[in-house]
């Protein structure tokens, strides 16, 4: 596979290869090797139509640690704000010799369009497209889960993961459901009915409206951010009520299995979907997710650009 557009495209073996590669790269970085050489002479463009400081920085750090040249292209204040289309931006980047484009875009399917348009010859990594997918986030979540639940090896067969919150707008949830199922985990989705997408029953996950029930027997919980910018106060009565019914507090954490972990893709709304007590507790791996994000993105870029053709 030349591009990484959706976790649904990954086979179990491909997903495990990415996680194993991330493991080795994390180890190399942990042993004090500042820069690794495999992407020397390759150019990675971060093309970001939406603000996302943490994802962009993570991709930038990943590419630089592999010795790639990085060009950051933010839509704001660029030719895009003068009305340039995705096509013309892509043609420009192609003319500059981009080997990979990391695309964050507000429209679902933008990465697919870019990859299949014939505008560019390089690889496309989807860094979040609308409410569709965010595959590297799902990969770093799987990596984090595997480290804590499976000693960093193999798949996630038999693990139970509960995903809570705004499933409707969450590209993180979509990507996670595909990948977790590919890796053999049981997935539970919890949200108020208004925040569940049409057709969620076909995703192959258990769906529940009650958080407490869905936490019993879980090995991990992933809290999704309430995306207030997409809400218009239309999906639930008040933030307070949402927080009461779907917010994660310590009493709810205690319902999960021994050794269960708490995850959040960030940025967090403390006091809304998660209490500060839980976010800062030893069971929380939220900060570690950020570190793992760099390793996983290094693995994706290495497997795509390290050889003469993409391995995954």
């Amino acid at each position: 596979m030349k591009h990484l557009l959706s976790t649904a495209d990954l086979t179990r073996d491909e997903a495990i290869l990415i996680l194993d590669t991330a493991n080795q790269l994390a180890q190399a970085t942990g042993q004090g090797v500042g820069k690794l050489p495999p992407l020397r002479g390759r150019t990675v463009v971060n093309l970001f139509y939406e603000d996302s400081t943490r994802t962009r920085i993570s991709f930038e750090a990943a590419a630089k640690r592999l010795s790639a040249d990085v060009i950051n292209f933010a839509a704001k204040g660029s030719s895009v704000s003068k009305g340039e289309s995705l096509k013309d931006t892509a043609l420009t980047l192609e003319a500059m010799g981009a080997d990979a484009i990391v695309l964050r875009h507000g429209s679902s399917g933008a990465a697919h369009t870019l990859a299949n348009s014939g505008w560019i010859s390089g690889s496309v990594v989807n860094a979040g497209d609308g409410t569709h997918e965010h595959p590297t986030q799902a990969l770093l979540d799987a990596y984090t889960l595997r480290r804590h639940l499976r000693d960093g090896a193999g798949d996630l067969a038999g693990a139970t993961i509960t995903i809570v919150g705004d499933i409707l707008h969450s590209r993180v949830a979509r990507s996670n459901v595909h990948l977790l199922k590919t890796l053999g985990a049981n997935v539970r989705l919890v949200a108020p009915p208004t925040l569940l997408p049409f057709g969620v029953d076909t995703w192959g996950a258990e769906v529940s409206y009650t958080l407490d029930d869905a936490l019993v027997g879980a090995d991990a919980v992933m809290m999704l951010r309430i995306q207030q910018e997409r809400m218009n106060a239309a999906y639930f009565p008040t933030i307070h009520e949402y927080s009461q019914r779907y917010g994660l507090n310590q009493a709810r954490v205690n319902l999960m299995n021994q050794g269960a972990i708490v995850m959040h893709a960030g940025p967090m709304n403390r006091g809304v979907e998660i209490t500060s007590e839980v976010a800062d507790s030893p069971q929380s791996v939220i900060v570690e997710q950020v570190t793992n994000g760099v390793s996983v993105r290094m693995a994706v870029l290495y497997l795509m650009l390290g050889g003469n053709e993409a391995t995954v």
Binding site: D20, T21, L36, E309, T311
Partner: protein, 181 residues
């Protein structure tokens, strides 16, 4: 690539004797192997480094530092095929700074793997010196590199392949030469 039926050139006892001799040579040439760190090159070099470390520590009565160094990202042919899976790098706790590092690999052929290993090693520190131990030297060097310790010199044709099988990975200890077809 398919291979014709192979010819076993070293069996388990031969390999064992060669490793014992290599262990003695290392001890002799390094005055007791006190400052030695063995670094195996994955996959089979690591198994060999572990076996050598065990033999040396049995003879000397003191443990030997042993680790692994993956060279994949430092290879000069990285771009000639799809990106390869990475293998573990394990730097011993004492590090390699100021140590006498002995790289250990199964087969020495073009020398390109060793060149890559020297680059990879330099990312982790500055050894006092680097030496090379191999189980088989099959010739056909493409770089100015030679081994300090050789288990067995096996003159081969370029059309042949040399396969070292070790019980850690292959359930049997033997070295096989095959005619590549």
């Amino acid at each position: 690539m398919t291979h014709t039926q192979g010819r076993v050139v070293l069996d388990s006892a031969d390999i064992s004797r060669a490793l014992t001799r290599l262990a003695h040579e290392i001890i002799e040439r390094t005055q007791g192997a006190q400052n030695v760190t063995l670094m195996g090159i994955p996959t089979r070099g690591v198994a060999l480094a572990n076996r050598l470390a065990q033999r040396i520590s049995e003879i000397q009565g003191s443990p030997v530092q042993v680790g692994a160094i993956d060279v994949t990202m430092y290879r000069d042919d990285l771009r000639m095929q799809p990106a390869r899976a990475l293998l573990p790098t394990v730097i011993p706790e004492a590090g390699i700074e100021g140590r006498l590092v002995i790289l250990v690999d199964d087969v020495l052929y073009s020398g390109r793997t060793i060149r890559a290993a020297l680059d990879a090693l330099s990312e982790h520190g500055r050894p006092q010196a680097v030496q090379l131990a191999v189980l088989v030297d099959r010739g056909h060097r493409e770089l100015p590199i030679r081994a300090d310790y050789v288990g067995k010199n096996l003159p081969t044709a370029k059309t042949e392949s040399v396969q070292v099988q070790l019980s850690e990975h292959d359930e049997i200890d033997q070295i096989v030469i095959r005619q590549a077809s």
